[in-house]
């Protein structure tokens, strides 16, 4: 038969893009790479995974080389019309049973060691953080400090953090690829995952267990900060809402975008010393990849400026209070705690940046921005009651943005 040479070469050519791809992946921009390993847990897993990949690639090369060699060497040609008949070879077969067993021993031993190391009891002085999964957002509680927040979690570098994982509804899974492995949140169970963050950084977190319509949109942000900054953050979170104690009601001061035709204001407001004192991650130092880039659905872009003081009054009578807690204002527990929502970098569980335009759109029509969201479209009439007006929504957004 003809064409064997061509066929063989096309096989190699087919592999070429894969090799190119592998190289690209190694050198490329992969912000959520599991090889980041920003904790001891991460280093342990990383070392094991590298060993597995190394042995795996060695076996891959061996098998594929033998296969390609056999294909090239033993193809039918005029000289070898009758094959030498063999039915098996006991020595060979024992050898290739034994060698994989030895390789696996080199995997099994460090695996079991790592299992027991990463699943040992957390140190007694570990920081306890309760993680509660909701369809589709994350609640974080620091019982030690009596702090409740959502979708953004601050961790002190150098101190063990013990996550206590529960779910309010279906299963979820808590995953920060750059820091550690994942652990499921299981109904009627309490799970644990602990690690010690070892470097300052902002990381993406994901829900890794399929949990319904907005599984893909159930994200969170992780800020590993210095012990000092963490103390500052906690102290700030422990206070009531900063608003209205030190309120500046001009829209520009709160980062609201001006309406069309209004005088141009800077897109982002320089941080004031007071804001820095919140201990939150400085906005201008956010890595590109932890800033959400989800586009707004059509028809929801609105830049009407709002008045925070009016918004504060509207909030108290709006449906918002049924689901959200703002310390001293409301006590809803269905949605995220909003006491310091203005100091978060994102809204809607890491789906949109926390700015005026996105807040307005979110309040107006959350289900359009996040499929299946339990938050009603407050811009539309709900069960006979008229929806909020655009002005009311803009005011509430201004109020929320002011809740540093």
């Amino acid at each position: 038969m003809t064409g064997h040479h061509r066929a063989r070469w096309s096989r190699f050519i087919a592999l070429a893009p894969l090799v190119a791809l592998a190289l690209a992946a190694c050198s490329g921009d992969s912000p959520n790479s599991i090889f980041g390993a920003h904790s001891q847990f991460g280093h342990d897993v990383d070392a094991l995974t590298r060993r597995l990949l190394f042995l795996g690639i060695a076996v891959f090369v061996l098998v594929e080389t033998l296969l390609v060699f056999a294909i090239v060497k033993f193809r039918k040609h005029d000289g070898n019309t009758v094959a030498h008949q063999t039915h098996g070879n006991t020595t060979l077969e024992i050898t290739w049973t034994f060698i994989p067993a030895v390789i696996l021993a080199f995997i099994a031993v460090p695996s079991v060691q790592t299992i027991f190391r990463t699943q040992s009891a957390a140190p007694a002085d570990a920081l306890r953080i309760e993680v509660i999964g909701h369809q589709w957002w994350w609640e974080f509680r620091y019982p030690e400090y009596n702090v409740v927040t959502a979708n953004e979690v601050y961790l002190p570098v150098g101190r063990a953090v013990n996550f206590e994982l529960r779910t309010n509804d279906v299963l979820h899974s808590f995953w920060i690829p750059q820091v550690s492995g994942k652990r499921d949140l299981i109904s009627n169970h309490v799970n644990h995952l602990w690690f010690t963050p070892d470097s300052v950084g902002a990381y993406n977190g994901f829900c890794a267990e399929f949990c319904g319509a907005s599984h893909a949109n159930m994200r969170f942000k992780v800020f590993a900060v210095s012990a000092e900054q963490f103390a500052q953050y906690i102290a700030h979170e422990q206070t009531g809402p900063v608003f209205p104690l030190a309120m500046d009601t001009t829209p520009a001061a709160k980062g609201a975008k001006p309406a069309k035709g209004a005088p141009a204001a800077p897109a982002t407001v320089p941080l004031t010393p007071a804001q820095l004192a919140t201990g939150t991650w400085p906005l201008d130092q956010l890595p590109r990849w932890v800033v959400p880039a989800t586009p707004l659905p059509d028809g929801l872009a609105d830049t009407m400026p709002g008045d925070a003081a009016r918004g504060a009054a509207t909030f108290k009578t709006a449906p918002c209070i049924a689901c959200h807690t703002i310390q001293g204002v409301s006590a809803g527990i269905i949605g995220p705690n909003l006491t310091h929502v203005g100091s978060r970098t994102t809204i809607a569980s890491g789906l949109y940046p926390n700015d005026h335009a996105h807040l307005v759109a979110w309040i107006k029509n959350a289900p359009a921005m996040k499929p299946g969201s339990a938050m009603m479209a407050l811009g539309q009439s709900v069960m006979g009651a008229g929806g909020l007006t655009d002005q009311q929504i803009a005011d509430i957004a201004a109020y929320l943005a002011a809740l540093k």
Partner: protein
């Protein structure tokens, strides 16, 4: 053998069943049932493939808006459910049906009517599951259907009802078929066909039937609990009533892991038939191949919780399941090396079937190796539920199962139809599939290792996932093009393919000793078997000078001329399956009691009549 003269009434009755639609509804011939399985699976393969194209198109770019999140969840759920239950399993079933009796030298399976029933129930299950699309209520909780997402509290619609009932129907089909084939292989082997002389495909199928018979009851229990929760208000998985959702996970994976071997062992069997014929050497280490298949199946029941390392089972359970899982790599590795041993020193001829067989070795190896990387729990905690897993199991199920099934299809098409598939189109199909498959699934390793979770409808542009997703989407369309070539080749060759004689490839086993396609009675005289390779007589020789071996037309006598009594055709299995379908439709139609009872009455009544009718026409 005495000639049996049938009374005219019986002959007339049978003639009605020989052609046309009725002949298919009433057939009890394992070869025709095999064809029904094949064409039905092919149709579902196209449906599942179209679902995959939607998924890949949605993920072509960041924040894609081709489909909604809800539709996306339906698409990936149905893609998985379809490819597992409606494609790979029944493609394998097509081969069980068509080949097992031929390979063991039998005239049919042990229970021909039960065999027809299995097919009709499978068809009903597939149609039932997919009818959900018509109501915009396709199942949407993943093929693994984790509780409590599947409970009424979190999935109030019909979606999960379709899934639960559809799985029940399909489970019935698989269970009935498994008992049938176990009985067939144990009881109907030709004289001299000892167990250790059985062709390796039959061996792997035999092992698979035990896996089916032992694992499907487990999923049936799990799904029945869910059905009772959803339809009758029980609390097996009701969180508010204190249920433990891990019950479902254990039941599901205790089925789900053996299921993986149900999907792969038949393909291993097919490749183990193809490689020796085109290497002109017997299978290297036949005994070890048989024992390793049995060992894989046995260990396959002890590794289920490796799907649950992120659940937090504790270090002892994690270690135990990790070690069991690593052990299973040993018999699997042995198979790979024995295939290489089969090739070694042979005279390889690269037909399309051989190309697909070699591709299985090349690609399954990748899936097997990536499997070992998540047999280690700490490493798995970074891999599970990420795209790395999607890459892994597609290398196993596409690179393994589908490549093996394609090898089998090209190899057995002549036996199936009496004609050859076109080798040029076959080569085009092969290369499009080989390239498309690697382009689709290899980048997914990198997506997973760079943090992309599975089952996600959308992703952001700044996560570094865009280019790998683009490659995967391009690959999926190349795969689709290859599949199109395959379908064209298949249909075109039915009429225009080169005629095939008994043995176009120079095969070794009994199926190659009879005409292509085989007469309805298979063997005019039951063969007497004295070796594993009865047609090679100890030496395969060089094989035909060119493929196919020259076709020599021969007169094939009819069953009546040969004096062979065949099972009577009957529509009763079809009607019984229809009764089941009516009952299940009653369940989905808000527990419509009238329909449920009507279906049950049809089912029970038909079974009665079936049991009271002899299998073969009565001799006068």
């Amino acid at each position: 053998m005495a000639t049996i003269v049938q009374p005219p009434s019986v002959a007339r009755h049978q003639a009605r069943y020989e052609t046309g639609l009725l002949s298919w509804l009433a057939t009890t011939d394992h070869k025709r049932i095999g064809q029904l399985y094949f064409y039905t699976s092919l149709a579902w393969f196209l449906v599942g493939g179209i679902e995959a194209l939607f998924i890949r198109s949605q993920l072509w770019g960041p924040n894609g808006r081709l489909v909604t999140a809800e539709t996306y969840n339906q698409l990936f759920t149905m893609h998985g459910t379809t490819m597992v239950f409606l494609v790979i399993m029944p493609f394998s079933a097509a081969f069980f049906n068509f080949l097992i009796p031929l390979q063991i030298g039998a005239r049919d399976v042990a229970f021909p009517r039960l065999n027809a029933f299995s097919y009709w129930v499978f068809l009903a299950g597939g149609l039932f599951m997919n009818a959900s699309w018509l109501f915009h209520a396709a199942p949407d909780a993943g093929w693994f259907g984790y509780a409590p997402l599947t409970t009424k509290a979190y999935s109030p619609g019909l979606n999960i009802d379709f899934w639960v009932l559809g799985l029940q129907i399909l489970g019935l089909s698989s269970l009935a078929a498994s008992f049938n084939f176990i009985t067939t292989i144990i009881n109907l082997r030709a004289p001299g066909m000892t167990l250790m002389r059985m062709p390796i495909f039959t061996w792997m199928s035999f092992v698979t039937q035990f896996l089916l018979a032992l694992s499907f009851p487990i999923i049936t229990v799990g799904v029945t609990f869910l059905m009772f929760d959803r339809f009758f208000g029980t609390n097996f998985y009701t969180i508010a009533a204190g249920a433990d959702p891990l019950l479902w996970q254990h039941l599901f994976w205790l089925f789900g892991h053996p299921e993986v071997y149900i999907l792969i062992l038949p393909a291993f069997g097919l490749v183990s038939e193809v490689l020796p014929v085109f290497s002109r050497k017997p299978l290297f280490g036949y005994n070890v191949m048989v024992y390793s298949g049995m060992l894989i199946a046995f260990l396959g029941f002890g590794v289920w919780a490796h799907h649950m390392f992120a659940v937090g089972m504790g270090p002892v359970a994690d270690s135990a399941f990790a070690i069991m899982t690593m052990l299973i790599a040993i018999p699997t590795g042995v198979k790979i090396f024995n295939w290489l041993g089969t090739l070694w020193g042979g005279t390889l001829r690269f037909t399309t079937a051989m190309k697909f067989g070699l591709a299985l070795i090349a690609l399954f190896t990748i899936g097997g190796i990536s499997g070992v990387t998540h047999a280690s729990p700490p490493s798995d905690l970074q891999q599970t539920d990420s795209y790395y897993i999607v890459a892994h199991f597609h290398y196993v199920l596409f690179g393994g199962s589908m490549m093996g099934l394609f090898a089998g299809m090209y190899f057995y098409y002549p036996k199936f139809t009496g004609r050859m598939l076109n080798e040029t189109l076959g080569t085009v199909h092969f290369w499009l599939t080989f390239i498309g498959m690697n382009l689709t699934f290899f980048p997914m390793h990198f997506l997973g290792l760079t943090g992309m979770p599975r089952r996600t409808w959308t992703y952001d542009a700044n996560q570094g996932w865009t280019s790998d997703n683009r490659l995967a989407t391009v690959g999926a369309f190349i795969l689709a093009a290859g599949t199109l070539v395959f379908v064209i080749n298949w249909l075109r060759s039915l009429k225009r393919g080169q005629p095939a004689g008994n043995d176009p490839w120079g095969g070794a086993t009994l199926e190659w000793s009879i005409p292509s396609p085989p007469p309805d009675y298979n063997f005019a005289e039951l063969p007497h078997v004295t070796s594993r390779t009865p047609l090679w007589h100890g030496d395969p020789g060089p094989g035909p000078a060119t493929y196919p071996a020259p076709f020599v037309p021969a007169k094939v006598p009819t069953a009546a001329e040969a004096g062979i009594t065949l099972p009577s055709p009957t529509v009763k299995p079809f009607v019984a399956a229809l009764g089941l379908a009516v009952s299940f439709t009653g369940m989905i139609a808000h527990k419509n009691l009238a329909l449920i009872l009507l279906g049950a009455a049809i089912f029970v009544g038909t079974l009665y009549s079936w049991l009271l009718t002899p299998l073969e026409p009565e001799h006068h």
